[in-house]
Structures are given as C-alpha cells and as structure tokens.
C-alpha cells in the first residue's frame, strides 16, 4: 500500500501525540423476545377474539417453561398422552429459553443446574432420562469445565467469586464464622432442594426479617462479606439482601452439599434441557397460543386461547402465578407475589478481547459493578481452539423499587442499554468495542419471583400449591425462589396429582 506523504505526515504526527482514532466496530442488535406487550393485553383486559373452535383434552397445561414442560414430561413418561401444552411465546422454555447463531447456541436466562443432591429425586430421574446421570456417574462433558469462575477486583483476577484477596483479618474471620453458621443450618436438614421437603416452622422467624438485617444482628459488617451476600441474592433472586427474606438468604448458602465439582451446564444453558424435553413431547405442544381466560365449570374447566376453547378435566397452571387473577375467572388478587425485573444480553464476539492475560472462564464477575457479569457460551465446547464466541450478560435490576426499574426497562432504548453493557465490560476488557459485532437484549419485567420478607411462609402460597380443584398451580414462584429444581418439582407434583385424580376416576 502506498501512503501519500501528506497522509503519512498526518497520521504519523497524530500517532506521535497519541491522537489517532482506534477503529470501532459497527455494533448491531435489537431488543428480542419482548413479551410485555402480550402481558399488557391481559392487564388492560383488552378484547380477545371470539371462540370459533372447541377441542377436548383430559388435561391442559398452561405455560411452557420448565414447570409446564416437566409436567408434560412426567405425563409422557407414565404413558399419559391426552393433554396439550399451551405456550404464549413462539419459543418454549420460559427462563430456560436459548438462542443460536453460526458460532454457538447460547442461553437467554437460566444457564446451569447445580449437581442435584439426593433429595432432588425428580431432577435425578430427569437427568437419568437425558443421559446426564449414568450408573451413578455424572457425564463429564455436562459438568462445567475448568476454569469455572473468576472475580475481577482491585485491577486483577482471582479464581472463584467469594472475595479471597485483599481481605483484612476481620473480613476473613467473618467469612469463616458465616460459613460455620451455614454448616449448622445445612446440618439441620431444614434447607433443602426442593424447598418443600425440608421446611418446617423451626426457622420461620428467619422469614420475618431481611437477610441484611439478620446479618447485621449476627454481627457481620465486613464490606466484602456484604458484597458477597448481596451478589448471591442478586444472582439467584434478582434482589438485594435487604429485600430478601433471611430464610431465603440462608437457603442459598445452606441447601446444597456438593457431591461432584459442578455445576451442570451446556452452551445454551438450561435451554439444553428444554430442547431434550421438547424432543420427547413434540405432538403435545402448541406454541404462540396465549391463554386469555380460564373458566372452571363444575367437573370441567375451559381454557380459551386465540379462537379455540380447550375443554379439560384438569388445568395445570404453570405460567407465572401473578397472571392468574387476569386469566382465571373469579380469582382473588395476589399481594404476596413480587417479581424481579431483569435484563439479559447476548453479545457476539468476533474475536476474544484483551483479558489481562487470563484464560477465559465460564463465569466472570466484576466486584465494582451493579451487573452480574457474563457467561461464555463456548466454554463448554470440546474444541481446543476458540476464536469467536457469545457472551451472555446478566443484569438484575435489583437496586430500587421493582416497578420503577420495570418502567426503566420500557423507557430506555436499545442504544442506552447497549452502551451501559459495553461500559460495564470496558472496565476490564478495554478493547471490547473492537470485538463485539452484535448485542441482542432481552427485557423481562417479571423475570423471577422475589423471596421477600414473609414470602417463604406465605399462607397464600401454601394455599395455592395445595389447591385441590380443577386448576392446579405449578410455577416455581410457589416456592418463593425461582430455580430449575423448584419449577421441575412443582410441575411434576401437579402432574402426579392429576394422574392420581384421573386414575381414581377413569
């Protein structure tokens, strides 16, 4: 290439004083998977199309997230096929949805399942079914590869997310003392997954105060410990510790005993489970069918979706429970269900950014950030040479009232969020803008149930999960915490109860 003298002088003199511009990639992207428009139709009691058709199934499952899909899986596995599953979105999976581009599949929300303990019987059965658990051995390629997690703090990396560098003796003592407390809670057998199998009234008082208040009462005031407990609540509940029930906070740390270095994860996160479940029940699924009304009538119930009326003996309501008052006829308002707003983004990277010399990990978290960092979809690839990848960026809008944050999600445009995300990543990956070609953003106003103070022992919840009528509730929000195992547990339990009821009345 020949460079004219004028241009050469121009660029070289600019370079000399450090003024030359770095080339910046054009970044494409959009909001994807928006579903609030449909939710708002229900909220605003809009007019829905008149019924033109009628179909009969013994069971209708409303909602195609993990709860609904698990109910369907249980039915098929026990040889019961007279059911239909109706999902509002075009894609199934709910919080276990996934996306795919020419580089890799990637998650849209939930991206792992901790290696299940012995109490999670249904999860173990599912994983045996899917070949994840074989002869008591967890399939190695589904366990999270090394290196797993890293935290960026004080301008450097550390392995793991619990802060381990720059601690004073006081911090170290508090981390140790807290762990000792959690060990005791674990040994009590009260904090289990699924939650319902262990919970008694023994620690009910913990549900009466917030996690942050409880920590303060117990004499924990270390800033780093405070950061870590808040990170845990943001990560699993989309909430700050001050908005989280202490019972739920303790549950996060005391409910699991690792039997294998995990967690279980896949490039598309829990979307992998959704895919495997869909393969097993394709003929029972109807996507893009928004249920707008459910009317119980004596021994039957009618479910209205689009122009179709589905008549059924039982309805499994696996959609988020907060929708029930807008859909189910004569349903009382729910006050005790608070949901956290979230934002996730998938970033397509054309090459790997500068990471200050560190090898890529599965999960990356920044200490000084309101976000939850990102997960690398190519981490579970068997390939040795990886040059392009997709990062899933997680951001629970936990600080401030949920309604305000929900409005913020709606008000700000794509460019605003894209800039906020890149700005967050730039604190560590200074050349991120030269690497990213696409940023797709998913906004979720009601991403997950928030275990607020009093919610774990809420009477309304207990009532709904044990309801014996035509409509059975199955969403994970009945547990008060939104994790895969809870969704699967409630889905399977509802299916089991329906089969029992049908079995006694053929």
């Amino acid at each position: 290439m020949k460079v004219g003298r004028r241009r050469f002088l121009g660029t070289s003199s600019a370079a000399l004083v450090g003024l030359s511009l770095k080339s910046e990639r054009h970044i494409e992207g959009a909001f994807v998977n928006d579903s609030f428009q449909m939710g708002h139709l229900l909220r605003d009691r809009s007019a829905f199309p008149a019924t033109k058709r009628s179909e009969k199934f013994r069971v209708v499952i409303v909602g195609g997230g993990i709860a609904g899909l698990s109910a369907a899986w249980w039915f098929r596995k026990r040889g019961f096929t007279d059911f239909v599953l109706l999902e509002m979105n075009a894609q199934l999976g709910g919080n276990a949805r996934w996306g795919e581009n020419e580089i890799t599949a990637y998650p849209w929300a939930a991206h792992y399942v901790p290696v299940p303990g012995p109490k999670a019987v249904y999860v173990r059965e599912l994983f045996e079914d899917l070949g994840v658990l074989r002869d008591g051995q967890w399939e190695e390629r589904y366990l999270c590869f090394s290196p797993q997690e890293r935290l960026f703090l004080y301008g450097r990396w550390q392995e793991g997310i619990e802060p381990a560098v720059g601690l004073k003796q006081r911090d170290r003592d508090q981390f140790r003392r807290l762990e000792e407390l959690f060990v005791k809670f674990r040994e009590s057998g009260e904090f289990t997954v699924p939650l319902e199998l262990g919970r008694s009234n023994r620690f009910k008082s913990l549900d009466q105060i917030s996690f942050s208040d409880w920590l303060r009462q117990e004499g924990f005031d270390s800033d780093l410990l405070n950061w870590y407990t808040n990170y845990a609540c943001r990560d699993d509940y989309g909430a700050l510790a001050k908005d989280t029930s202490a019972w739920a906070g303790v549950h996060y740390f005391s409910s699991r005993e690792a039997e294998e270095k995990g967690p279980l994860t896949w490039p598309e996160g829990n979307g992998w489970i959704t895919r495997r479940l869909l393969e097993r029940i394709p003929e029972n699924i109807r996507a893009a069918q928004m249920v707008h009304r459910i009317t119980p009538k004596g021994h039957r119930a009618s479910v209205f979706a689009g122009e179709t009326e589905y008549q059924a003996e039982f309805v499994i309501f696996a959609a988020p429970t907060f929708l029930a008052p807008y859909i189910v006829e004569n349903f009382a308002r729910l006050h005790e269900f608070v949901y956290s707003p979230w934002l996730t983004a998938n970033l397509t990277l054309e090459h790997l950014p500068d990471s200050r010399g560190a090898e890529p990990t599965w999960d990356t978290v920044f200490l000084e950030s309101p976000t939850l960092g990102y997960v690398d979809a190519m981490h579970q690839s068997l390939r040795s040479q990886i040059d392009r990848t997709v990062w899933t960026f997680y951001w629970a809008l936990a600080d401030g009232p949920a309604a305000v944050n929900r409005q913020l999600l709606l008000d700000k445009d794509w460019n605003y969020w894209k800039e906020a995300i890149l700005h967050d990543l730039e604190r560590v990956h200074s050349d991120i803008r030269q690497c990213v070609s696409r940023v797709d953003i998913m906004r979720m106003g009601h991403a997950m149930i928030r275990p607020t103070v009093g919610s774990i022992f809420s009477e309304q919840r207990r009532h709904l999960s044990s309801l014996g009528g035509r409509i059975l509730f199955a969403n994970s929000d009945l547990s008060g915490i939104s994790i895969f195992e809870e969704a699967q547990y409630h889905g399977v339990e509802a299916a089991r109860r329906v089969l029992n009821a049908l079995g006694s009345r053929p």
Partner: protein, 498 residues
Amino acid sequence: MGILLFISVLLIAACGLIYELVASTLASYLLGDSVLQFSTIIGTYLFAMGMGSALSRYLNRSLIYRFVSIELLLGIIGGFSSALLMLAFAFTEGFGLILYGLVIVMGVLVGLEIPLLMRIVRERYAFRDVIAHVLTFDYLGALAASLLFPILLVPHLGLVRSAMFFGLVNIAVALWTTFLFANQLSGARGLRAMCLLAMCGLAIGLAKAKQITATAEDNIYADEIIFVRDSRYQHLVLTRFKDDLRLFLNSHLQFSSRDEYRYHEALVHPGLAAVAASRRVLILGGGDGLAVREILKYPQIENITLVDLDPEMTKLFATHPMLTELNQKSLLSPRLHVINADAFPWVDSNTDSFDFIVVDFPDPTNYSLGKLYTTAFYRAVGRHLSTQGLMVVQSTSPMFARDSFWCIAETLKQAGLLIYPYHVYVPSFGEWGFVLASFHTYTPPASLPSGLRFLNLEGLPALFQFPPDMAPLSMPPNQLNDQVLVRAYDQDWKDVSH
C-alpha cells in the same frame, strides 16, 4: 558563510547524538537491561566528550585541518560503529571491550569538535555570540536527532544503515568545511580525496547493510531460521544449525532432527509392533509426519488417518524439501488421509475403528490443551479402538514433570483402560514419557520392523522400568470439570526452573 557554518554545527551535533543512541540501543538489544545499557553508555560517552574538550587545549596549530580530520575520522568510525558492534557480538568474545572502546573514541572526537569550532570562528564574532550561536545549533541538532532516531531511522533504516547514513553526513560536513575555509586551509586536496574515499566506503556499506545484519544475526541466534509462519493457530519457527533442524510451535521445541528418531520410534513401535494384523491407524496431532514415517514401515497398514488442527503445518511438512527429506515424504503417501480438524470434536463425531491410535499433542500448558488429556477425551478415543487395538499417548516428562506424567496415566486408567507407561531418553528433550493403553493385556512385540536406529527387542523391557526418581506417584485423574493436570504441569515446570 555564517549560516552555513551554523548548519554544520547542527549536523555534527545530530551525528554525535545518533552514534550515542545507536550504541545504547544495540547494547540494549544484544545484552538486555536497557536502563543499565543506556545509563552507562550515555555516561561514558559524556565523560569521553569531557576528555575531548580537555584535550582540545593541546591542539594549537592548523585548527581547520584538524577539525576536518576529526569530522572525517568520526564519520568513518561512527558510520561503521553499528555494523562493527553487531559483528563483534556475533563473532568475538570481547563485545563489551569493543563497545566501550568505540564509545570512548567517538566521545573524545565529539568532545573535540565544538571547542575547536568555537576557536575557529572566534575572530569573526563577539565571544558571547559565538557561545550563543554554536550552543543553540548544537542543541537544535540534538533535538532533531533524538526525534528522528525512534520515529524514522530505527523503523525504516535500521541501526546499521542509520549509523552509516549519519557517517556520510559527518563526512559531507568535513568535505564542505574544506570549501568553506578553502583560503585558510593547506592540504585541502588530500583531505578531499580522503573524504571521497570514505564516502565511497560508507556508500558500499549502505548497499551491503542487509548482508552484514544477516551475517551477524545468523550467528547471534546460533541457528539459522529457515522458516517462520504465523498460522491461525500457532507460531511456527523452523531453525537449522548444520545438520540439525528444529521445529518450535509457540516457542516450544517439537523436535530436533538429530534425535527425533528416538522419540518417534519409541512413540510408535512398542505399540504398533505388538498389534497383530493391524490395518488401520489414527494419529491425533503429529502434523510433522514423523510418526507417519514410522508407521509406513509396516506394509500391512492399509490406511492412516491423521487429524491435525493446523493446515499450515501439514502443508509445510508435505512440501518443504528439508522437511520432506526428514519425514521421507510420509505426508504424500497414498495410504495417508489428512484431516485438518480440532481433535476432540472430530473424535466425538466420527465412528471409525482403528487398530492403533497415536495421541501426540503439545504439552498441557493451558486449559484449552488440557481438554485433550481428560477422562472424557480418552473415553471418546477409546471408542475408536478395535478389539485388538492399542493407543499410545505422549505424556510429558516423567522426570521433570513427574506429577503430570502420572496424572495422565491415572486419567487413562480412570477412563477404563489398562495402562503400560514407559519412557525414553531423547537428548534434546531429556527423559520423555509415553503411556500405552488398551482394553486388553499388552504383550510386548516379538519383532520390530527393520532399519530402526534406536529401538531393538533387547532394549524394549528397559523402557518400561521406572527408576525411583521417576517412580509412580498417586495422582487424581484430569477431568473436564477439574483440570488438575494443567495446574500440576504448571507447578512441575516452576519447580524445575527454580
């Protein structure tokens, strides 16, 4: 005349600074520790300039003649200084002596310049003007040189030619001074002739600078670099010293042609010669074709599949004359099938079965390569073994990376295979280890192909004996979700180097 004189001051100041910078930079390049080199050379140079200034008082007659001679001498010495230093480093033991000798000689000569010049012009100007003008242009020249050197000279001309170019400038100043002071100068003709002669010498030097640099560099890096390529995956460097060819991938030595036969005979024959009626062989890694060369010694082998990530690598070893001589054109064999793919996904998706499998990857220096040393990977490879099949795994050094070696052995065991570890001495690598693995009991071969240079039947049992300093260690297996091997390997080599 005034302005021309002061331009001369500017030019000789620039020359003086360039020689100093060239010497400092070269010393930094060749000896390292640039802070030390720059400090000591600038210090010595300035001190020598002081000596020059002190000596100037002893020069009393024919000042102009002396000034021109100094410029001429400086042009020659300074101009050739860089080439001289490079050759001195490459071919002599006395680089330091020559370096500081040159710096002192140049410093003294530069130190003489300005005092002489001031005395030459003092009759024409007031003393304070002489000081002001001469020093102003002296410092201006220094500024120009210090900017030109890093921005234009080093990147575009290189050190050897930069010095020569300024040598020419220096002599040009000498030449033009003979004309400037023609009426006060006797013997101008002789000086001019010498100037022209020196300029011719430097011009030739400029033209030949590349060869000078190359000659010196060949010797500096000991081995001639005959091939460098950055492929998408790795940095390939091939070097030669006399009859020794060496391949480096990402600066890790892969083989030395002097003793690679030991490595590759040991890699292939203890396993392959023990498989009765072997027909199909798989090689994972091994894009240099050297394992293929050994495998082709078995006429009954019908089909060899070689899976190597890097097409540049297999292309280079199929075409470069020195390399095809080394691998005996093995990569051009009609029995060979080359697939350029990432090994784990390939092994995972392919269903062919093989009688002998060679697993020859770079050492597990990072988590990406570590995936190729896991129970999950060996299970996937094991599915390709025929009932009589054997596989052999390059397993690092049981001597220098003892934890790593036994970790790889344990990993193969946990993948459900029977293991038969062995080791061999390869001078360029040191003690090196392999693990044979299969689903049945291994019986050592009863015969070996003819024409082997290292391996014979008598020597075979000794390979499987591990003396106490390499004896088995209890290690956990390396797994995708817990890559203990990468950490062990890192620690092993840290222990060796400390």
